[in-house]
Symmetry: C2
Subunit: 154 residues, 2 copies
């Protein structure tokens, strides 16, 4: 496949948020589309404690991007929120995409907090496989499912 | 929380794949549903070089799980593939979930390989934001979009 005859682009390190030195592939982020930022910020930042890492506008795609994560980009596990300028409705949910799973040292506490904020608790904290960690399923305020997995032994 | 005589649930370290010592939350994995393993294994393992980390069966949910990743669980960025025993059709795709993004040291090479395997190249390698890395969008063999982001400076 022809790549491009373009000259090499200028290098802007601020846009190489995932780094520019990797010699091995890795999963960087998961993208979900939202109509408005507010419900997502309330769930992931106020509710779960993630931080906003960056915001970008991609004019050629008429799109705004926001990256949120618990750490910085190097730790992987970032979520990209995308808002389309010309979006006319709420994103729809198929049956294929399932969820993002978030490890929490206190799943019971996290679920209680999200429930108090008005989130729908689909599966309260439970042990699905005997001997395994507690897990819970919660819908974020845009209707995306989030799994919470206990990561501290109780 | 009062100390009680209640026995703790059995602990099976093999099922605490994300560890049991975390004091801070983190994103662990992204789940997508597939009807058959084969197309996913061909794309993510043969095509992109991921490894199978684990397989589980959750009888109470009549579900088989498979975790795939480039590294081990501690590196985050794992993909969970889920196959439902009673699934009657292909998973459907809404407009909300976008993609998983994978950092690749050679996006052009990765896209060429996937294209030779029959994958649909939705956006050939291109620079979306001047000064940023090359990105490409490819559909996996189950119809899920995957973004490839250049992580070595060319």
């Amino acid at each position: 496949m022809p790549v491009t005859d373009q000259p090499k682009p200028d290098f802007n390190p601020a846009l190489w948020v995932w780094g520019s030195e990797d010699s091995a592939p890795r999963v960087l982020h998961t993208m979900i589309r939202v109509k408005e930022w507010e419900p997502a910020l309330r769930f992931y930042i106020d509710g779960l404690g993630m931080k906003m890492l960056d915001r970008f506008t991609v004019e050629v795609r008429r799109t705004d991007l926001m990256f949120i994560g618990f750490g910085d980009y190097s730790q992987g596990g970032v979520i990209e929120l995308v808002r389309l300028w010309d979006d006319e409705g709420e994103p729809t949910h198929g049956t294929g995409y399932g969820h993002v799973a978030i490890g929490a040292p206190d799943v019971v506490g996290a679920v209680a907090k999200l429930e108090a904020m008005g989130a729908e608790i689909v599966t309260p904290p439970t042990v699905l496989i005997p001997g395994g960690p507690h897990v819970a399923f919660v819908k974020d305020f845009n209707g995306y499912m989030v799994e919470l997995i206990q990561t501290s032994r109780m």
